[in-house]
Each structure stands twice: as C-alpha cells, then as structure tokens.
C-alpha cells in the first residue's frame, strides 16, 4: 500500500464567496520531490497554507503522514519544514539570533549546528541584521529555517524566488540531498526548468482545481508528442489539418507537428508524401504548462 506524505480529499477553500481551491485531490507519496505548478492566484499558496493549518478549509480533508493537518496539527508540524511564499521576518534580529530562536521553538531537535552549515552553503552572513539583508538574503534565511531541523517533509512556496542562479543551484542541491536522506519535498515554483530538473512528480493547478498530477516524464511524453517529418514531396498546407494534430512549423524540407491523438492516421498520411526522415523532439515541462494555460485554456488536445 502506498504511503502518502500528503493526501487531500475534495479539499476546498473559499474566501467568502471567492474561490481559493476547489475539490483538490492531491497525493504526494513519501520520498517524492513533488512540484506544484500554477500561475499566480491558481491556489498553490492556499493549498500549502491549508496543509500547514494556517487557514482552515471550507470543505474536504487534508492529512499529512496519515494524520489530520488540523486536529493533529502540532504533531504533524513537528515533522515539517515550511517556507512561506510571502516571507516576513523579525527585522531587528540578526540572522544568527533568528536561527537560534527558531531552532529553540522547534521540537524533535537533532542537530543544533546544522543551520550554520546551511548558511555557509548559501553564502549567508548571519551576523547582519535581517533588515539590512537584501530580499535574496532574506529568502536564504527562510530556506535555512525550513531545512534546519532536517524535517521529514518540506513544504516550500517558491523557494528560489529572488535568488541568483548560483544560489538557486545550491537550493536545488539541498532539495535533492534532503530527499536522498529520506525527506519528502513539496514545493511550488514558476521556474519550470528547475521543477523538471529536480522533481519526480508534478501537479498543475488552474483556477483552484488540479488539472494534472503525473510523473514528470509521463507528463512530458504522454501529453503530446512533437514530431519532425522530412518529406520527399512537400505536402500541401492543409495536409495535416485534422483532429489531434497541430502543425507548428514548416520549411522546404518538411513540417513539425504536435500530435495529441490519432498518431496512426497521421503516420499513414505522412507516408503518402514519402518520409525521408523522422525525429521526435523532446517536449519540456514549460511547454506542457503553457499548453495547459496558454492556448485554449489547456483544452487544446481536441
């Protein structure tokens, strides 16, 4: 039986009459590095806040490691490292003092000096007052705070926001290392390349509802295929106009197609123009994401 680090059933939250999330059924398996994707206002932060029991759902259930995120909230949060999306810290403190305070307020403390190692790896000067830190350095403080207790589950809201590329790389390494040490990682991000690089599963949320939850490789291979055909005889412009096929480019040598369905019929048609070469072009997660959100509101496989 699969063990879930996070499981939600029909999780819904309304702000008054405004939709936050609706009927979110989310399963994050233990050991996953799970990417949570969606544009601003889609419901990523709301979902994470409900999991942390910061806000309470209007309907549905949320459990973490099999325990109710509200009723067993204190026990559950002992095992979680959390980074809020809108991080706000105690400006008058130095980062060092903040870490000591934050560590002292945790339970299940294991390694009192771990925050120093994390801060060193991120290049964070912990002697400076937080108010003197740049937004990137404040983000580093939040990341160290989330990781410092070696939690079983990391819930991170856009962890690399405001960081330079080198530090982003380090954060990704920290995620992988935490995962290899047994932690489950659930994080939201707008940077799809990093999600693709580090996550094994992703969920895409749109207008408060989950529209896809899949393994990254399944998502990028199954949603559509991009195929480049070179032909002996140039096909007419409307040769591939049919359901489930979109022609994305054309030159003298051939055409590039996005194929959502009816691959067999397409191949039959293509063969009639004398195929000289065929190539399957990898589809990035970003392109999948845009397919969901861009053209036709994601309903573009028709």
């Amino acid at each position: 039986m699969t063990e879930y680090a996070i499981e939600t059933k029909k999780l819904s939250l309304y702000y008054g009459r405004h939709r936050g999330i609706l009927d979110v059924d989310l399963c994050v398996e233990k050991g996953d590095i799970f990417g949570f994707l969606g544009p601003n206002g889609a419901g990523k932060t709301t979902t994470q806040r409900v999991l942390m029991d910061i806000i309470r759902p209007t309907a549905g259930e949320a459990s973490i490691f099999g325990k109710d995120s509200h009723k067993d909230g204190v026990t559950v949060r002992e095992r979680i490292g959390y980074l809020p999306g809108e991080l706000s810290l105690y400006d008058n403190m130095t980062a060092r003092r903040f870490f000591k305070m934050y560590y002292s307020l945790q339970r299940n403390n294991t390694d009192p000096g771990y925050w120093k190692k994390l801060a060193n790896r991120l290049g964070l000067d912990t002697s400076r007052k937080i108010r003197q830190c740049s937004s990137g350095n404040k983000q580093k403080v939040g990341i160290v705070a989330a990781f410092m207790n070696k939690p079983d589950l990391l819930i991170l809201d856009e962890p690399t926001s405001g960081l330079d590329p080198l530090v982003k790389q380090t954060v990704m390494e920290l995620l992988r290392e935490a995962n290899q040490a047994g932690a489950t990682v659930f994080f939201s991000s707008h940077i799809l390349s990093e999600v693709q690089a580090v996550c094994n599963r992703v969920a895409i949320i749109r207008d408060g509802q989950l529209v896809a939850t899949e393994r990254v490789e399944d998502l990028t291979t199954q949603h559509f295929k991009r195929i480049r055909f070179n032909f002996a005889n140039t096909p007419p412009p409307d040769a591939f106009t049919r359901e489930g096929v979109v022609e994305t480019s054309r030159d003298d040598a051939g055409v590039t197609l996005e194929v959502y369905s009816h691959l067999d019929q397409l191949m039959e048609k293509a063969t009639s123009f004398g195929i000289t070469d065929i190539e399957t072009i990898p589809v990035s997660l970003e392109e999948i994401f845009l397919a969901y959100y861009g053209k036709g509101n994601g309903d573009n496989n028709a």
Binding site: S12, L13, Y14, Y15, G16, R17, R19, G20, L22, R49, M52, D53, I54, I55, R56, T58, A59, V74, T75, R77, E78, I80, Y82, P84, E86, L87, S88, L89, Y90, M101, Y102, S104, L105, Q106, R107, A145
Partner: protein, 276 residues
C-alpha cells in the same frame, strides 16, 4: 512555552524601558515641581472646581488631589494607549506584516501562542508601571514637601501600580479585537474608542446623576484616580471586576484565534461559502 515567552519579552524589552522612562517623566516632573507652586495651586481651587476639570478627574487643591490628578489619573490613560498599541500589534499586527505565519507554522498549539503573548503583555505593562512607580516614589523621597500630608512615597508607588488591572483589561480587550477583526487598523480604532469613551464616560457619569445607571459600562469606573484612593487604595471589588474583564477578553481571544484563518484578514462571519 517558556522559550517563546522569553523571546516575546526580548522583543518588548526596549519598549518597556522606553515607555517606562518616558511615562515616569509625568510623576517625576509633577511631583518634583509641586513644592515650587503648592501655594498657587491652592488658589486655583475655584477654577478647578469647574465641571470640565471634574469631568477629567482633575482636582488639584491639595497635594493628594494634585498627585491623583496628574499621576494616578493621567498615567493609566497613557498606559492604556500603550496597551492598545502593543496588544493590537501583537496578534493583528504580526498577522498584517506576515510574521505570524511563520510562528503558527511551528509545532506550537495556538492557545500557547495566545497565552504567551498575553503573559508577555501583562509583564510589559507591569514593567512599565514599576519604572513609573519607582520614579514617582523616588522623586517624592527626594523633595521636601512644604505641606503636611499623610501620603507616603509607598502610597504613591502602590497607587501607580494599582493601574495594572485597568491597563490589563484594556490590553486584553485590544488583544481580543486583534483576533476578532480583519486587521490591526480596525482593532486599534475600536480599542482606542473604547478607551476614550470609557475615560470620558466614567468621569461624566460621576458628574451627571441621570447617567449613574450606565457607569458600570465604562472601564475607568472600576479605577479610582482620587485623593482618597491614593491613601486607602483601590476597592477590591473594582480590581476584581477589571481582572474578570481581562480574563473574559483573554478567553474570547483564545476562542477566536483558534478559529482564525491567519493571513486572510476577515471578520469571523466572513467564512467561506462554497458557491459552485
């Protein structure tokens, strides 16, 4: 819980010292100046008998009346403003600026967060009053009074400290408003109105006989800033009433904070309604 309390006190220590020293200027200056204009003050008694001064609780014809009017009357009012600022800033303010999200995400029950912050507020108010009371008592020890009085420096010290239940009641009401209303601004406005209406209302009900039946609704009714109270202390029943009000407000804070959607900024009745 103790660690959280120590942390809360660390956050407040500068404010306690600053407000304590600032507020102690009142008794230090007023008590210290009294010998130089004691005779003149007696001459002003007719003027000070006017209703407007009585409404403000000011009767300066005697040393006891002078101390009651300047120290035990005004210090609690200003301390109540501190209580409003600090108490609304504690839950509502931290929620507004986002810091509370980090605290409630820790493995700490919400009731403990509320309890610790309430205790820290109580200690802050007591700390400020101790500084002010010490300032007043030391000043009184330092001056030579030109008149006979039964009031001792210890009486002044105790009478300043006696404002704690009133300040605590205001603080806890403000605390509750912070957990109840959408944001700090609204909580602060309501709490300030409560303090001002309580202060003026209490004094007015003492002057206008027809208003006597509503005097119990004003917090300041339960705190006597009079020459008599300076000598014999506050009535136990009044002090108990203020502490009970503080306790009820604290209980309501626990209930509403427990149910509160942090970061949302909504009234309790604005809960989500599913509209598919």
């Amino acid at each position: 819980m103790l660690r959280l309390l120590l942390q809360e006190l660390r956050f407040r220590i500068t404010g306690i010292i600053g407000w304590g020293i600032g507020l102690s200027m009142f008794p230090v200056i007023y008590v210290g100046m009294y010998p130089s204009f004691a005779e003149e003050m007696a001459g002003f008694q007719d003027l000070l008998d006017m209703a407007i001064y009585q409404a403000m609780g000011i009767t300066m014809g005697s040393f006891e009346g002078f101390i009651a009017s300047t120290v035990t009357n005004l210090v609690p009012v200003i301390l109540c403003i501190y209580a409003v600022i600090n108490a609304t800033g504690t839950l509502a303010g931290e929620e507004d600026d986002g810091r509370l999200e980090l605290i409630v995400s820790l493995p700490i029950p919400r009731w403990q967060i509320v309890a610790v912050k309430a205790v820290a507020l109580g200690i802050s108010l007591l700390g400020i009053l101790l500084i002010v009371a010490s300032g007043a008592a030391l000043t009184m020890e330092a001056i030579t009074l030109p008149i006979e009085t039964n009031v001792t420096s210890m009486d002044v010290f105790v009478s300043v400290l006696a404002a704690w239940p009133l300040a605590m009641a205001v603080g806890m009401i403000s605390f509750f408003l912070g957990a109840f209303s959408p944001n700090r601004r609204i909580a602060s406005v309501i709490a300030t109105v409560v303090v001002l209406v309580s202060y003026l209302g209490s004094n007015l009900t003492g002057l206008i006989a027809s208003l006597e039946n509503i005097e119990h609704f004003f917090l300041f009714h339960y705190y006597e800033a009079t020459a008599e109270a300076l000598e014999v202390g506050q009535q136990t029943g009044n002090t108990a009433a203020l502490l009970l009000i503080a306790l009820v407000a604290f209980g309501l804070t626990l209930i509403f904070f427990q149910r509160r959607n942090i970061t949302v900024g909504a009234w309790p009745w604005q809960r989500g309604v599913i509209s598919r």
